[in-house]
Amino acid sequence: MEVINKPQKRRSRIYSSEARVAYICLIPAFLGLFFLTYLPLAGVVGISLTNWTGLKSPQFVGLDNYVKLFTTDPYIKDSIIATIYFAVLSVIGSMIYSLFIAMLLNRKIPARGFFRAIFYVPYVLPAVAIYVGWSWLYEGNFGFFNYVLSELGLNKILFIADSSYVVPSLSLISIWLAGNLIVIFLAGLQNVPGVYHEAAEMDGANGWKRFCHITLPCMTPIIFYNLLLSLIANLQVVTPALALTNGGPGNSTRFLTYLMYDQAFVNYKLGYASATTVIIFAILAVFTVVLFKTSNFWIYNEGGDDK
């Protein structure tokens, strides 16, 4: 952090050659920030105010697309609900799962590297293959999960073909994919000073108490980071809908990004889809801001320790 706030020095010739090198190094970043980030960001807002379909030249229609989205669009409400439902389930589930596994792996157990690899490996497999593979486990008649249900004497469930089960079923896959969160948590746990635990043990605190009063507070910055990472990723969910469900059954998996894809690249309503994009962006921004705002209350800062 020390580099940015360097006191301003008198600009000498060395300094200007340094700056020249810097600008050359930053050419890719300039291009990327301008053409791939901020110009398209402005573009999406601009296009959302038009009725562009890709065929005729676009016409300015003001906020029509937004009005239509909120009044007559048959999908947007279901879509928002599905997205938030999926994201909340996946984020909560994967946070609990990954912290739990990380705490197990943080103890002295044999073959720790091997186990870490097992939990991590789903993360490096291509997402499409994961969803296709799991669709077989979820299959309605002969899938593994239905075999278990029938062994337990329960009725079969059409996991991904039943609108009330499909979102939790997909969330379970997303929880299973949280290997990267486990590794980050594990690294964080290894940074929790052992002295704290020893001191607490001396005072007679049991395992659960130590978890609540030492591990959790020390881990809050990492929890925040993982929460943010997982929330942003899960709110943009689209691959299972593209690869597996096509938004169905009904509209139960018509996630917002899928809705946008459908509007823009199947129906070629580019203006309308851009308005949807802006809405997704707004939802993501709200979640992110809320997370940041509340973070002051629950993130434990170890005396300004620079983490």
Binding site: Y23, I47, R107
Partner: protein, 289 residues
């Protein structure tokens, strides 16, 4: 040490031992659960269709039908898809890593006007979800530059810094390297680029590998963008090929699972080779924030 204290210590040791055994058992159970889906997919890929529908299903195939894979490869052009995927991934990884290193170096070490502003813009773009820019970029690449059915819209963005997150990662890593190293270079008369190439780059090799891995994973997991930009089936990537294959052979589960396993393979191999860096890199991102 008094006898009582010794006893306490021993009972504590014993309790710890019991806890460790319990933990190990729980870890083994969870690891089996976590690995189970992959095994189930793999075992299905080696079974005949009759065996798949058997009740109760068996955990291990009776005959290991590797012929399923030959059959799958007739329709699922795995090698072609893999090649196509690599045509996208390899240049992206190289260019992304290189340009991210250049930018990270500038932000970490060099002084120039407007640094704060550019850095803020860069960090700000990290919070911008990728799908927000999808439609304008699509219009730009296809309408503006006429790149229809081309890999370039997927590759070229990586020539532009490889994403703010990767620039951030490299910058953090360079900042953790003592400046004395650079200064030693300066005294020897090395220029800024010389310092970057012969002092900084060797020192941040782990971070560069990590960035390459992240770009790899991102492209590996992507379906949406590939779907949008690539149309013709002879340009299909693994993700597109598998989606398409599943649509064709919806009911033939053993062949579909064989195709799935084939798609798993490169990721697993890649992971086994780069495991150390994967773990190191992910750790790096979590802690340097």
């Amino acid at each position: 040490m008094s006898v009582a204290a010794y006893g306490r210590l021993r009972s504590k040791k014993r309790r710890n031992m019991a806890m460790n055994i319990l933990t190990f058992v729980v870890v083994v159970i969870f690891a089996m659960l976590a690995f189970f889906p992959i095994w189930w997919i793999f075992r299905t890929s080696l079974m005949s269709n009759a065996e798949i529908y058997q009740y109760p299903p068996s955990l291990i195939p009776q005959n290991w039908l590797f012929s399923n894979y030959t059959k799958t490869l007739e329709v699922f052009k795995f090698w072609k898809y893999l090649w196509n995927t690599m045509i996208i991934i390899v240049p992206s990884c190289l260019a992304g890593t290189f340009t991210a290193t250049l930018c990270g170096y500038a932000f970490a070490r060099l002084r120039f006007r407007g640094k704060r502003l550019i850095w803020t813009l860069c960090i700000g773009s990290m919070l911008l979800p990728a799908m927000v820019t999808l439609i304008p970029l699509y219009i730009g690449w296809t309408r503006g530059l006429g790149l229809n059915d081309s890999y370039l819209p997927l590759i070229l963005p990586f020539f532009c810094g490889g994403g703010a997150f990767n620039i951030f990662l490299i910058r953090q890593f360079i900042m953790s390297i003592p400046r004395e190293l650079d200064q030693a270079g300066t005294i020897d008369g090395a220029g800024y680029f010389r310092i970057l190439f012969s002092i900084i780059m060797p020192a941040i090799r782990p971070a560069m590998i990590v960035v390459a891995l992240f770009i790899f994973i991102g492209l590996w997991n992507d379906l949406l963008q590939q779907m949008i930009y690539i149309n013709s089936s002879d340009k299909f990537t693994i993700a597109l090929g598998l989606t398409n294959f599943r649509g064709q052979l919806k009911s033939d589960w053993s062949l579909t699972m064989a195709a799935t396993c084939l798609s798993f393979a490169p990721g697993v191999i890649f992971y086994l080779i780069g495991q150390r860096y994967f773990v190191e890199g992910i750790t790096l991102t979590g802690l340097k924030n």
